[in-house]
């Protein structure tokens, strides 16, 4: 079964540092997403991306966040200046059709900001 691959599985960073979380979506998928889950809380939508541009973003996705598909296979989430409250599991997802039905999530990157 095709998978969405996320690296690293765990990243520790100092407050104020920039981090880049990487994802390799399923190869024939066209729609890409980032979600996050703070420990013990709900899974929250951050951003959706299609045709090399953001199609929707949440209020969480402020100016410190950015996404990119640099080379046709990777999909990255950059956090420019991390805060303690950015500590969370970050999940990448992809979809062939943009339909909720076809979402495949990765196993996540646990980001710890110290």
């Amino acid at each position: 079964e095709p998978e969405v691959t996320q690296t690293p599985s765990h990243q520790v960073t100092q407050m104020g540092q920039e981090v880049i979380l990487r994802c390799v979506p399923i190869s024939n998928h066209l729609y890409f997403y980032w979600y996050r889950q703070i420990l013990g809380q709900k899974v929250e939508f951050l951003v959706s991306f299609y045709n090399n541009e953001i199609s929707e973003k949440s209020e969480i996705f402020d100016d410190q966040f950015s996404v990119e598909r640099p080379d046709g296979s990777n999909f990255t989430l950059k956090i420019r200046s991390t805060k303690l409250e950015d500590s969370a599991m970050y999940f990448c997802a992809s979809s062939a059709t943009g339909s909720y039905y076809g979402y495949t999530f990765g196993s996540g990157t646990r980001l710890t900001v110290v």
Partner: protein, 110 residues
């Protein structure tokens, strides 16, 4: 978006059938009902989706009454590995983002 309400937690034993009911009183005509499963430290995984009546796949069944104000996810003969959080989502057709609630934490014991 229609609000969903489901039990916070449920307990079961191996081999039993588990039914998790979700209420969504304000569901709209173009909304679909989708269920996801999440294991600890993993991303959510799609289980099943339906619009009305009954849908069955290799993992679960989904029962949706005619008024569509609730739905029931049925897991036949659960095993320990079914211990997870189960999320009921109501998603408008064509809507791109998923809005997760707190889900139902299912614990399966030997």
């Amino acid at each position: 978006l229609a609000k969903t309400t489901q039990p916070i937690s449920m307990d079961s034993y191996e081999g039993q059938e588990v039914n998790i009911t979700c209420s969504h009183n304000n569901i709209a005509t173009n909304d679909y009902i989708t269920w996801y499963q999440q294991f600890p430290s993993q991303g959510p995984r799609f289980i099943i989706q339906g619009y009305k009546t009954k849908v069955t796949n290799e993992v679960a069944s989904l029962f949706i009454p005619a008024d569509r104000k609730s739905s029931t996810l049925s897991l036949p003969r659960v095993s320990l590995s079914d211990t997870a959080v189960y999320y009921c989502l109501v998603v408008p057709e064509g809507f791109q983002k998923l809005v997760f609630g707190t889900g139902t934490r299912l614990l399966v014991s030997p």
